[in-house]
Symmetry: C2
């Protein structure tokens, strides 16, 4: 049996010392009234804010592998998924809930490393670990992370706001995370320093906030599934089409050379922001230090096209990002 | 590959038609601004309310078995877990998030039945299915349910409010759910009608609300882990002890005879409310039609004792409820 009580007590201690360190920083948009240790967590929001809620699985063998990902990286990555969703709404994260199912025999150092990676990133964004659940897993390690955030009333940036004529932008560079997976699939090592965007991706919280505050983004999503899939989500919710110029897509350069175009177009888990902006608005080349690149425009109709270097267009079909297979 | 898009679309349709039916009823304490289909759900709370958040795994082989539990029962039970946590705070549920990981080959009718059981119960308590996640499971069916609720500012009933001298009460009857498991473990059938508390447990939402509004409960928890474990949680958080009289514990009577005392004392998943009330307060024998039974009292010190029919006391140790093993 899992020493569940001990595990919860340990997570509670780690979360507790983190929230004490946080208390010295500036005020959070939500106050934790009751954290871990009751039937529910109790939170008090800043009045006039809307609540954001997102939930993401991180499953061993689907989203991470113990032989590929250091425990701290696995913990970091599973929190990034939720933080990145909050960023894509232009919101501020406030509280996280970590549900963890572990096989009967599990490595205590691995779990401690995982929780440490999770809490280290949580602290950075002043997010309190407010609760969760523990269970015995029938097989692999299973995590489900719930993120709560806030955004001023009616100001959340939705997927549905893109209009024909809007320009399409992406932050940072794409394909770096998929390139790390490609290396590891081939049996090569991928270093956490070289492939930081894969192992320790930084969610674009400040950028999302700035885009919302400046009212630059008409629609926004994070690139968790890959550019082709995430662009399709925006087009579907906004009922528009799009045209992307492949030459404009910023490709990651882990090590010395840039990644293959395919990885930048379809590879997932870069956790950049993909957004649209009215053509008349001037979007600066950088916001909060993050480069922004115009890669195409929103069109009337529902077709999503890719224009190559020679000016030839083809269907830009969403290739469902399947993480990886064992 | 999972037809994930199709699955999400189907859940979205089922959730959508449910929320339309709800709209005709009385106003909910929280308004859904954005539901399924964006990076986050967006909710607007009634001003002056605190938010409640709880999250519970329901894992195949640990919390349910496909050969024992009809799909609708599995869906119902996994939502009850969260609703019952909201009830134990004296709160009102507002929104649910369902994260579902399915093996590569899964039965579509099973999943539809599961979601139907979930949504049927959600509708009853005017809870909107506001989001979630889907993933491919490496093995079994995995569900994680997040429930959001509200409670008027500072009125949540915590586990930590029990004081020496308080009386200890439990709603309904105990051991009925564990009795069903015992039968199924022995290879017998357990009917959903006879063992309703196991297959379709009703969360005690109205009772929790009434106990909070009447300010009767000084501390409260739901009996998900079993009386001995859940009482230990109250005692730990309140820093008190307790003395329970075994003869007073109300035992379930599925079929013709009442369950063994052990099942009532330690069996989990009855989802009744266990609460303490100041000795001077008169607690009626029923509230909202649910019988309430005084089973003991809160004591100074930290010991938790069980007094038997002959007046002999022994340690009432928490027996961690382990659901069941394959």
């Amino acid at each position: 049996m899992i020493p569940e009580k001990e595990l919860i007590a340990r997570i509670r201690r780690m979360a507790g010392s983190a929230s004490q360190r946080q208390a010295s920083k500036t005020a959070s948009p939500a106050r934790m009234i009751v954290g871990i240790g009751d039937d529910c967590a109790v939170l008090r929001l800043r009045p006039g804010d809307d609540s954001l809620v997102t939930t993401d699985f991180s499953l061993e063998g689907i989203h991470f592998r113990r032989d590929w990902h250091p425990a701290q990286s696995a913990g970091h990555r599973c929190l990034t998924r939720g933080l990145s969703d909050i960023a894509a709404m232009g919101g501020e994260p406030t509280a996280a809930f970590l549900s963890l199912a572990l096989p009967r025999k599990f490595s205590q150092p691995w779990v401690t490393g995982f929780v440490r990676g999770f809490i280290h990133l949580a602290e950075k964004y002043r997010v309190t670990l407010a609760g969760g659940d523990t269970a015995e897993s029938p097989g692999e390690i299973l995590a489900d992370v719930i993120l709560l955030g806030t955004v001023p009333k009616e100001e959340a940036v939705l997927r549905s706001g893109a209009r024909p004529g809007d320009s399409i932008y992406v932050s940072g560079e794409l394909g770096g995370s998929a390139a790390a997976l490609e290396r590891m699939k081939a049996g090569d090592k991928a270093g956490a320093r070289e492939y930081r965007r894969h192992f320790y991706p930084e969610p674009r919280i400040e950028l999302g906030l700035a885009l919302r505050q400046k009212k630059l983004a008409s629609a926004m999503i994070d690139t968790s599934d890959g550019l082709s899939s995430d662009l399709a989500h925006i087009c579907e919710e906004s009922e528009v089409g799009a045209e992307i110029e492949s030459e404009l897509v910023p490709r990651a350069r882990p090590g010395t050379r840039e990644v293959a175009l395919d990885l930048a177009l379809h590879g997932g888990e870069d956790y950049e922001l993909l957004f649209t902006a009215p053509a008349a608005r001037r979007v600066p080349p950088r916001i909060v230090g993050i480069p922004l690149t115009r890669i195409g425009q929103v069109t009337r109709g529902r077709r999503i096209l890719l224009r190559d270097a020679k000016g030839k267009t083809s269907n830009f079909a969403a290739r469902g990002w399947e993480h990886f297979r064992r």
